[in-house]
């Protein structure tokens, strides 16, 4: 599919000054390459979700329950009573338009319905019609409309064209959070079985096997052992891989892509080398083998059902606290939802680094620490020996992943690590990093092949900033701390910024880490030869 559209053609379609048309009169167009396939029957049955059936988005009949409008409106009523956020966000938007050109999907598509304000109006218009007096009496005059099948199609198209990155929420004078609106609208659609497969099947897999790829315990073990073998080949050091080890001090949970996909895999090697070198008493778990939470892309209940495993496994294994790997949406769930949903974690201890003695007061209730917080603390206390010159063939920039930046505020820790493990680091322009960072374009479960064009559009602002530092400063790798980034940035850059690589922060740690008893390093974790700067640049 990627061969069909070309960057130079796509770029010609960009337009930030859409022509005025009453948006209610513009029908949705399910253009190939811009939407995701429908959720599979099998996944819905396994998860006991409403209305499992075989259907396709382009079908004229979506095989909805007869009273589907009623189900959705009742669901909306219930959620208005349960979430103050929703009620407030429905009522107070003044449509100032500050959010309009902040959304990567609007910037990359020029489609007015991708302006966050209009995305929210898709739901708000129905809310007005059903729940406000003015809307009931005056209809379209006050921006109210009935929930029809066309409206549902529009919801499906545009609420799966939002990656819940929250960039708009930073700029909104009332903090209206489109991620919250998207989340709840997807939840409403899920009530009648309208959802996408790249969310529902991973949810099913995570529920059954513990991880979204559906990898079974022995498969996971193989993969971890393969990483250990690769590490041994590069460093000459044998590493044991603790799995489901009872009584370990720390449970380590990372997105499952880390042990199956590249370039995630190099980051996994980095973690394992680091843990070995500092002698950490930790364990992987095959049961809680997924940090990423695909449930959080479709419903609060599914989010809770998947997230449950992390505390349950920590309890079963009897660990003291939990350490989490590099991941974006995963960390929003852990930071903002886990303790509330599945806590209190009173069977765990306040996290304390066994190496430095640092007590992580900022995680004293949830008892889960981000790997970047953990490693930054190690480096600050000089507990590991680093040789940054081993990363001299890389000139890095750092892509802040959406959720750690806007749902947490993890900004300095990764930068501190990067600056200690490598010597060439250049930031992308100010309006595209930290809390203003741009999404990779594929977050929240929409990173599918069938949605390729929309992903390339949505990822354009990120790619554009990366291209700037590549062209101007010779940056050749973009580091990030999110599994979806690591999966999506490579095709995105291949499309817009060919030659720019993608890696994880702990991959660079692995390269720079001087391990006790290691043989002289000749290659980095990707088997690129070291000390051969010309070749790489």
């Amino acid at each position: 599919m990627s061969s069909k559209i070309k960057p130079e053609e796509l770029i010609k379609t960009f337009n930030l000054k859409p022509k005025y048309r009453n948006w209610m009169d513009v029908p949705v167009d399910f253009r190939k390459g811009t939407f995701n396939y429908a959720g599979s029957e099998e996944a819905l049955i396994y998860l006991d979700q409403p209305n499992p059936r075989k259907w396709q988005v382009t079908d004229p009949d979506w095989k909805l329950p007869e009273n589907w409008q009623e189900i959705i409106l009742e669901g909306l009523r219930e959620r208005l009573e349960k979430y103050r956020s929703l009620k407030i966000f429905m009522d107070i938007c003044v449509r100032c338009g500050a959010c309009a050109d902040k959304c990567h999907f609007f910037l990359g598509s020029g489609d007015p319905k991708n302006m966050p304000v209009l995305r929210a109006e898709l739901l708000r218009s129905v809310y007005r019609r059903e729940f406000t007096t003015a809307g009931k009496l005056m209809g379209r005059m006050v921006g109210a409309r009935e929930l029809t099948f066309d409206v549902l199609k529009e919801w499906f198209y545009y609420f799966y064209q939002c990656t819940q990155c929250r960039r708009c929420s930073v700029f909104c004078p009332y903090g209206i959070d489109t991620a919250e609106i998207t989340f709840l609208t997807r939840e409403l659609m899920n009530l009648i079985g309208v959802n996408i497969d790249w969310i529902m099947t991973p949810v099913k897999n995570s529920y059954r096997t513990g991880n979204h790829l559906g990898v079974q315990p022995h498969g996971m073990k193989d993969s971890l052992e393969m990483a250990a073998a690769d590490i041994e080949e590069i460093t000459g050091i044998h590493i044991d891989v603790p799995i489901n080890k009872k009584g370990a001090e720390i449970l380590f949970v990372t997105p499952s892509a880390d042990y199956f996909a590249t370039p995630h895999y190099y980051t996994l090697m980095g973690y394992m080398m680091l843990f070995h070198e500092i002698g950490l008493d930790y364990t992987f778990s095959t049961y809680a083998s997924e940090g990423g939470n695909f449930g959080s892309f479709v419903s609060h209940e599914l989010m809770k059902r998947l997230n449950n495993k992390i505390y349950a496994e920590a309890k079963r294994l009897g660990v003291k606290w939990i350490l989490g790997g590099e991941c974006g949406h995963m960390w929003r769930v852990i930071h903002q939802y886990m303790d509330t949903m599945n806590g209190p974690a009173d069977f765990l201890e306040v996290p304390r680094s066994p190496i430095t003695g640092t007590v992580f007061e900022n995680a004293k209730s949830t008892k889960m620490v981000h790997i970047c917080e953990f490693t930054a603390d190690l480096i600050y206390h000089n507990k590991i020996k680093l040789d940054p010159s081993r990363n001299d063939h890389w000139h890095a920039t750092f892509h802040d992943s959406c959720n750690p930046s806007r749902g947490m505020g993890l900004l300095e820790e990764p930068r501190y690590i990067i600056k200690n493990v490598m010597r060439k680091f250049t930031e992308m322009p100010d309006n595209t990093i930290r809390e203003q960072t741009f999404c990779c374009g594929s977050g929240s479960g929409i990173g599918t092949d069938e949605n390729f064009e929309m992903r390339m559009r949505g990822g354009f602002p990120r790619a554009n900033a990366a291209k700037f530092v590549r062209d101007k400063y010779g940056v050749n790798i973009c580091l990030c701390i999110c599994a979806i980034d690591k999966a999506n940035l490579p095709p995105l850059f291949e499309f817009w910024v060919p030659g720019l690589e993608v890696g994880g922060v702990h991959e660079m740690v692995g390269n720079a880490l001087v391990m006790t008893g290691e043989k002289p390093r000749e290659v980095d974790l990707r088997l690129n030869p070291l000390n051969n700067v010309e070749e790489k640049l």
Partner: protein, 333 residues
């Protein structure tokens, strides 16, 4: 969508106000009774609105963080954009409500030779802030018509507001700012295609209405002066729930009647519209909660048990494979 509808609605309100100002019988009705209806709708409507928001709980702490979190002691936290304490959150809210912190971040994205570039764009911030603050100060200045004796802050405000001492009567800065702010906001809705697409009648109408209030106010002050002694006697009577005599009402000019009717309309319109952002901004969960999620457990009052896939069920399914791979299990067979 909706510019026409808003204009017609506004002209209708203007017409009613004008007729009320010149037809003696109607004038008594509009001047002596309508204000009570307006005040009641405003107060009760706003209270109902806030109670309704307050009735829904805040199940999760979903702060939008806009700076460095509190983590390791040697990393400097951004205490205002990512507060972890009540004090920091208060600071964040004050910055937001008094100075429109988030709007201050506004940028404009543009394509330049196939490149996306961002430039600082403070116009929306500046004119919104100018409008809101001017409105507040003008309202406070009006206390000289509401109470006897006149509160001391009124004189202070008047002195500052008339600092440049231009014209006679002295031109207030806020009068200039509110008119330019509203004009900017209105024209922006028409000429910025993105904003025009999202604009509803309920976006144009309040701008026109407040523009009407400000314009009639300016006319009354600088051009068609009215009997201020009568105005004061009238407002004090209304606000102290005393009957207003026909004779007094006759002394009030038709222009004042229009000004007054616009204000009554705004009071009635307020709680039924987006103008409730005045109250809602205080309750926005992405702004008014501290980002201390991992430090302090947030309670969801409706948290309920969900079906889970337990470890036992998991091991049951994969036990053989786990044993074969040498992964520890709970039950050996």
């Amino acid at each position: 969508m909706g510019l026409g509808i808003s204009l017609i609605s506004f002209l209708l309100v203007l017409a009613v106000g004008w007729i009320a100002g010149i037809v003696p019988f109607l004038k008594v009705f509009f001047m002596a009774y309508v204000p009570y209806v307006a005040l009641a709708v405003f107060v009760i409507g706003l209270i109902i609105r806030i109670l309704r928001w307050g009735r829904s709980p805040v199940p999760f702490r979903i702060t939008t963080t806009c700076g460095q979190e509190k983590s390791l002691p040697w990393i400097r936290q951004n205490k205002l954009d990512n507060p972890s304490s009540a004090l920091g959150t208060l600071g964040r809210m004050l910055l937001e409500i008094l100075f429109f912190r988030s709007l201050f971040r506004n940028t404009r994205a543009e394509f330049k030779d196939d490149r996306l570039v961002y430039s600082v764009d403070k116009w929306l911030w500046f004119f919104s802030l100018a409008f809101h603050w001017s409105f507040l100060i003008i309202f406070l200045r009006h206390f000289r018509f509401f109470t006897e004796p006149i509160p001391s802050f009124v004189g202070f405000l008047q002195n500052i507001d008339g600092f440049f001492q231009v014209g006679l009567p002295i031109i207030y800065i806020t009068d200039v700012l509110i008119l330019s702010g509203l004009t900017f906001l209105f024209l922006r809705r028409i000429f910025n295609s993105k904003v025009r697409i999202i604009s509803l009648p309920s976006d144009y109408f309040p701008l026109l209405l407040i523009l009407g209030i400000a314009t009639t106010g300016v006319l009354l002050r600088y051009f068609f002066k009215t009997d201020l002694v009568a105005v004061k006697e009238f407002t004090v009577s209304v606000l102290s729930f005393q009957a207003v005599s026909q004779e007094l009402i006759n002394k009030l000019s038709p222009l004042f009647a229009i000004h007054f009717f616009f204000v009554c309309t705004l009071l009635i319109y307020f709680p039924l519209s987006k103008l409730v952002h005045l109250g809602g901004v205080f309750l926005s969960p992405t702004r008014n909660l501290a980002n201390n999620n991992r430090m302090k457990r947030h309670i969801n009052p409706w948290n309920y048990d969900v079906p889970v896939h337990t470890y036992e069920e998991y091991e049951e399914e994969f036990r053989d494979k786990m044993i074969a791979a040498g992964i520890p299990v709970e039950k050996e067979d």
